[in-house]
């Protein structure tokens, strides 16, 4: 089985998400890493894609619910008496 022995940039791109998520088979991982070792552009694409995903997972990108929105929600759901319990 060596049909992936010469993975090209397009094939790498198709497997990039799965590689980042750890969902790629060990064999494909190896082929992908072999390609990465010799391809600067694909390494940049991998690094910047991973960084993009890291950034959107930071707390700054996940702000808390505004207090007034929470208050209106609780009132709408007739949960007024639980408003004083702070989430967390």
């Amino acid at each position: 089985m060596n049909e992936h022995a010469h993975m090209n940039c397009d094939e790498l791109l198709g497997s990039l998400s799965a590689y980042i998520d750890g969902d790629l088979s060990p064999e494909l991982c190896q082929e992908l890493e072999k390609h990465l070792a010799g391809c600067d552009n694909c390494r940049v694409v991998l690094n910047t894609t991973k960084r993009t995903i890291d950034l959107v997972q930071t707390p700054l990108e996940k702000p808390d619910l505004p207090d007034d929105v929470r208050e209106r929600l609780f009132k709408r759901l007739n949960l007024d008496r639980y408003l004083t319990q702070k989430p967390g």
Binding site: S17, V45, N47, T52, V56
Partner: protein, 199 residues
């Protein structure tokens, strides 16, 4: 059965009408659902509608929750439905279904190869950097954006995202790759231009 429960929420208590338990569930997920609505609709008022309608639906239908998916996935499914329904109503021209086919794979191809991944986080997420990231997310087509938000922002698995959106896992993976590539390209264009300016 614990697997179906987020943290220590009791499904039995929810079904029995325990208000305190419902309030805990609301607090646990309202931030995520509001963010999802805000990023799908782009307006705080619409996001609030999505949020309120989601929990009203949860309250109405919790008796029918069969536990085939986790409670969290079920919540996100309701929230995603609410958001998509509102988009259909407000922006009927938006295509929420089809992202495959044609020569669109050309769109996937990276054209920017600046390695900005080593920039410190406070720089990437301060002021202009954060605006660029948020704007890039907002420019994703809705059909890709919702997949990206559930999977990469809220942290659902591929399978959970597929269940929440009634998509196949293959379709989720395709949309996720396209979304990630489009975002990366957008950020790389910005940082590429910035590096040139600074040289």
């Amino acid at each position: 059965m614990d697997k179906t429960m987020p943290d220590d929420i009791s499904l039995e208590a929810l079904i029995a009408g325990d208000r305190a338990e419902f309030a805990r569930l609301v607090d646990m997920y309202s931030g995520s659902i509001y963010r999802l609505g805000l990023r799908m609709l782009g307006s705080p008022q619409d996001a609030e509608d999505v949020l309120q309608n989601t929990f009203i639906n949860v309250l109405t239908h919790i008796q029918n929750f069969e536990g085939r998916s986790s409670l969290a996935t079920w919540l996100y499914r309701i929230a995603a439905n609410e958001a998509l329904m509102l988009i259909r109503k407000k922006k009927p021209e938006v295509n929420l279904e089809d992202v495959e086919g044609g020569d669109e794979d050309e769109d996937l191809k990276p054209t920017q190869f600046v390695d900005w991944s080593g920039l410190p986080e406070d720089e990437l997420l301060s002021g202009e950097g954060k605006s660029i990231l948020d704007a890039a997310i907002q420019t994703l087509p809705e059909s890709l954006r919702i997949v990206f938000l559930l999977r990469d922002v809220e942290g659902l698995s591929i399978r959970e995202t597929a269940e929440a959106l009634h998509l196949t896992e293959t379709n989720v993976k395709t949309r996720l790759l396209r979304a990630r590539m489009a975002l990366r390209e957008g950020l790389s264009t910005y940082y590429g231009e910035r590096f040139i300016r600074e040289e």
